[in-house]
């Protein structure tokens, strides 16, 4: 990542020094020790106070754990369902059933790939209308058969393509919002990476919102915001601070309920730690919601939405 470059340079230098033979160069040992100390110090400072823009970069890190990784690490007996029954199957959205510590749930998630081939098939995690319609189908199934919904957010946004407009991208998202607002089962959302605008929101609100420490959720991408305001995408660092898109911001705004800590430098540095944190937070959320009368959930969810927004003269 861009902001890690000074650290990368030192680590490269250290690696090359370590290749040399210390017995022939007596100064080398001291130099290596010095470098190691400097790297340790940089580790402390670099990640101590991450800016929102740095967190956005961590959220987009290619090695960051993805929906598939959470499915594998947290759940058993995963069954995927496919297709929107209208046009096709969008691989950028996972929909299916899975078991979390004995609890049967319906799972949704944006699905980035772990390599280029997978990413092309999955459109880099940016859904087409078919993906949203598949998600909507799963919401209705979950509602009918009483399964809580767990949804993992990780998308740059709904895909802004020509065919997507042809096939009603906006309508597909709106239908998801309608379905998600009215399901009579608990809905727990986990922001694991990117939460890009309407494409994230379509499967991204419910009864609880859990955010990973470095995940973001935003009305618009910082780059697009910078392009609109300044005609300069390079001012994304500035706009990402203004947009208040970090996990902590969302807690402060009353939108997120829990933040799962990440290892220093991001979730990819120690995925197991993050899986444990998500498992704990998810289980707690599902447990607290399991006691609630299912029929009352849509009203409670509506009250939660109803409070969002700041107005004067009310």
């Amino acid at each position: 990542m861009e902001f890690e470059r000074p650290l990368d340079e030192l680590e490269d230098k250290l690696a090359s020094l370590k290749h040399l033979d210390v017995s022939e160069q007596p100064d080398l040992a001291a130099e290596i020790a010095g470098l190691e100390a400097e790297i340790a110090r940089l580790h402390e400072t670099l990640y101590a106070e991450l800016t929102p823009w740095e967190r956005v970069q961590i959220a987009r890190h290619p090695e960051r754990p993805k929906t598939d990784d959470y499915l594998q690490a947290l759940f058993t007996d995963v069954v995927e369902v496919h297709g929107d029954r209208l046009f096709g199957d969008d691989e950028s959205v996972f929909a299916g059933f899975a078991t979390l510590q004995g609890r049967k749930v319906a799972v949704l998630g944006h699905r980035k790939g772990k390599n280029t081939t997978e990413n092309v098939r999955r459109n880099f995690g940016s859904p087409h209308p078919e993906g949203f319609r598949k998600a909507e189908r799963l919401m209705h199934l979950a509602d009918r058969f009483g399964m809580p919904i767990v949804s993992f957010l990780d998308t740059a946004g709904a895909y802004p393509g020509l065919d997507d407009e042809d096939r009603g991208q906006a309508l597909a998202i709106a239908d998801c919002l309608a379905a998600l607002s009215s399901v009579r089962v608990p809905v727990v959302v986990v922001g694991i990476g990117e939460g890009g605008s309407g494409g994230a929101l379509a499967i991204g609100f419910g009864d609880r919102l859990i955010m990973l420490e470095n995940a973001y959720y935003s009305v618009i991408s910082p780059e697009m915001c910078a392009t609109i305001l300044h005609k300069d995408a390079r001012r994304a660092s500035e706009t990402s601070a203004c947009l208040q898109l970090t996990a902590d911001d969302l807690v402060r705004l009353g939108l997120a309920d829990a933040v799962v800590a990440e290892p220093r430098g991001g979730a990819h540095r120690d995925p197991e730690m993050v899986f444990d944190g998500v498992r704990t937070a998810l289980s707690a959320a599902l447990e607290s919601l399991s006691a609630v009368d299912r029929a009352t959930l849509p009203d409670t969810r509506y009250e939660r939405l109803r409070r969002i927004g700041e107005v004067a003269g009310g």
């Binding site: 020509l162 309407g198 898109l245």
Partner: protein, 309 residues
């Protein structure tokens, strides 16, 4: 709640510090721009009754003729944008409008300062348009049918949806539900209001949830999509209506055309994201000429409320 009527002529004493009576909004019309941007500076200074240039066919028209046609060009049929007060005047029965939630105003919850200062931008929009925010809502009748109505005004920060627009739309749904009266919303919007960040994005979920509750209660909801309706508004309450009407030639979609063009790296087909394009693709029910809109909405209201009789 303060109410105002279209037919009332204001006296100077009627002015409130934070808003203008609806009837006074018409005075703001000289600030509107019916011309190409390059000519705006010269013509916008002129009073009504001037010659203006149609954006569609580039012909020069007498303003009086254009207004008689509800701002539809008699030559090429181009539907020019309407302000909210103009829209209310053409759609509702005269004197029937009773505004609600007129006092709701935007705040600057994020203290958003990148680019323009948001609070100043809102203040300027209030000043310029005479509106409190980008949507006006209230009770009215349309061809004798009672309705809750909401009309968006693109002049107000692109009629983007922040907390206040989301709140007023949600309250309109709730009012329609409480009074079991059909809801008619006329949309125009650039999408979510980014200066309110996630609070703005969440208005999509809030309004969609309110729309869903109205639908579940069996109260009709008609949407008139006008130029332009884009982004988060199209992707939430604006397309959840029982009947979706669009005005001819309106730009309606999710992603902006320039973004789509950049994404596919090809030029867009003619008419992409137009009302007619959406009709052809099965996304809306009908495209209706503005001069027939009121009658059509009234007729639809009579059908959708037929079960109540």
């Amino acid at each position: 709640m303060r109410s105002a009527r279209l037919s009332e002529r204001p006296t100077p004493d009627d002015h409130e510090t934070d808003s203008m009576p609806i009837s006074d909004w018409f005075k703001a019309r000289e600030q509107r721009n019916y011309t190409t941007p390059t000519e705006a500076a010269t013509t916008s200074d002129l009073p009504d009754g001037v010659w203006v240039r149609c954006e569609g066919c580039k012909r020069t028209l007498y303003m009086g003729d254009l207004e008689r046609e509800l701002m539809v060009c008699p030559t090429c049929g181009r539907h020019h944008d309407l302000s909210a007060p103009e829209r209310l005047a053409m759609l509702l029965d005269e004197g029937s409008f009773e505004e609600v939630d007129a006092h709701l105003r935007s705040v600057d919850p994020l203290q958003f300062t990148s680019g323009k200062v948001y609070s100043e931008q809102v203040a300027a929009a209030v000043q310029r348009t005479g509106l409190g925010e980008a949507i006006v809502t209230g009770r009215a009748t349309i061809g004798g049918h009672r309705a809750i109505v909401g009309v968006m005004d693109f002049r107000f920060i692109g009629a983007s949806m922040g907390s206040v627009v989301g709140e007023k739309v949600t309250r309109a749904f709730e009012l329609a539900l409480a009074e079991r009266t059909p809801l008619v919303l006329v949309t125009a919007s650039g999408g979510a209001r980014m200066q309110e960040g996630m609070l703005s994005l969440m208005q999509m979920a809030k309004t969609a949830a309110a729309a869903t509750r109205l639908a579940a209660a069996g109260v009709p909801y008609i949407v008139v999509l006008t130029n332009p309706t884009m982004g988060g508004v199209t992707a939430s309450f604006a397309t959840l209506g029982d009947v979706l009407i669009a005005e001819p030639g309106a730009l309606i979609g999710f992603a902006g055309p320039r973004l789509v063009e950049q994404t596919i790296r090809k030029s867009l087909p003619k008419g992409f994201q137009s009302s007619e394009f959406l009709l052809e693709h099965g996304m809306i029910d009908m495209v209706v000429d503005r001069r027939e809109l009121k009658d059509r909405v009234a007729l639809l209201l009579s059908y959708l409320t037929a079960g109540d009789e």
